[in-house]
């Protein structure tokens, strides 16, 4: 088993019951294999299904057909059929996802949001908070914001909290949906550095990068997600 993540014959469509039951096919017979230490960038026009693929890989969208195999604790788990408890366990220990926007939890300070997935894996509170602090600092989030809930932060500040949360645990597989979209040049460099370090320790990364320069610097290859009507 040399892959970290592998989609086999993956299909996904949406049936919109409130719109007369129309069915929208998005992914069909998709095959993708990502090795440890490899970074694959999803490419394709807006609306092609890149985010849909990523959400399927995270188990956030159910797979319509096919398998999504992930190497979890030296075994292979099929996320397409795993039950809710197993998906949660895979997410805790193996699979991270940085979404386009931070989902803020009312009243929870930034540093706790970042430390939470570490503590869920059994890291002691002090160590988790120290790691969170270090990552937020590296991402240039002003120290005065660390202990505030991010609800009132700017988009770029929220995204850096999101990134710190995603990179803190050192997941073996990491999914990044436009991680640098709202960042300035200096913070883009920090993210490029974080991705390079994750790859160096063997993490498999799947990313959507709107920024061609970032993409070219971190990705080992491109994976084209073509709109279905054009591919057919």
């Amino acid at each position: 088993m040399s892959f970290a993540l592998r989609a086999e014959n993956l299909g996904k469509s949406f049936t919109l019951h409130l719109q007369g039951g129309v069915t929208l096919p998005v992914l069909q017979a998709l095959e993708l294999t990502v090795a440890p230490g490899e970074c694959v960038a999803l490419s394709g026009p807006s609306g092609a299904g890149k985010s849909t693929l990523m959400r399927c890989l995270y188990g956030n969208y159910g797979a319509g057909s096919g398998r999504i195999l992930i190497r979890h604790h030296d075994a292979s788990v099929d996320l397409a059929t795993a039950d809710a408890r197993l998906v949660r366990e895979v997410r805790r220990d193996t699979l991270g996802y940085v979404s386009q926007f931070l989902r803020v939890i009312p009243r929870v300070p930034a540093i706790e949001i970042v430390a939470e997935p570490l503590m869920a894996r059994g890291v002691a509170r002090d160590a988790a908070l120290a790691r969170a602090e270090a990552l937020l600092t590296r991402l240039n989030l002003p120290a005065r914001l660390h202990h505030l809930p991010p609800a009132t932060f700017s988009g770029g500040e929220q995204q850096r909290v999101n990134l710190a949360r995603g990179f803190a645990p050192g997941y073996p597989v990491l999914l990044l949906d436009e991680p640098t979209a709202s960042l300035d040049a200096a913070n883009r460099e920090v993210v490029i550095g974080l991705i390079a370090e994750a790859k160096a320790r063997g993490a498999a990364i799947v990313g959507i990068f709107h920024d061609a320069e970032v993409r070219d610097r971190v990705a080992d290859r491109l994976f084209d997600v073509a709109p279905l009507h054009e591919a057919a």
Binding site: L16, L18, N60, G62, A84, V87, R88, P106, R107
Partner: protein, 251 residues
Amino acid sequence: MSPLLSARGLELRFGRIAALDGVDLDIWPGEVVAIVGESGSGKTTLLRVLSGLAAPDAGSVIFDGQDVLGMNEAARRHLMRTQWGFVHQNPRDGLRMGVSAGGNIGERLMATGARHYGNIRAAAADWLRRVEIDPERLDALPRTFSGGMQQRLQIARTLVTHPRLVFMDEPTGGLDVSVQARLLDLIRALVAELGLSVLLVTHDIAAARLLAHRILVMRHGQVVEQGLTDRVLDDPQHPYTQLLVTSVLAA
């Protein structure tokens, strides 16, 4: 590991209404499960049957190896005191309004065997603090509290004995929106800290997203869809779930 609570084939009719129509459910240790669905879908009936308060026409409920439906009233009350907690929508149903705040908390502790007055009072004060009520109010009567405070007191009374399974029926139901947010956050933090198993009945999708690991969607007494919370809410399959996540249905 095995489920803490396991129900199979639950059926209960009220005349022509099928309040429960073939419901299966497992709750695992440390799992927070939300039951969502519009008013009349059978959520409260399900909670009552699972906790042995109402007998179904058919089906089984097993808690930690014990047959809940077959046990006598004394055994069920013992479970209620020692293993379970119940947070009612209306704090008046879960509190003793004529007893002080400290008394409400202490009473639950004494029911599980605590005897030392000083320790009980200290534990009650500590729990008031944990639910963000000034410990100075230890001797105040609940009726002098706001609705949100009463609900927080009910939560303190319920959690002080560290129950393994907590049933919550619309815990934020009667509260103002701003008060709801604070209560939800408090519940979220306590549940995570104590590692509780929770069965939460709510019609509030945002509350379910915030608190629950897993969601069951009920309609007309049936579970029409269930699974990981974010998958059910972001990629709903059943027409009724699609309606539920795009609209705010009346409770």
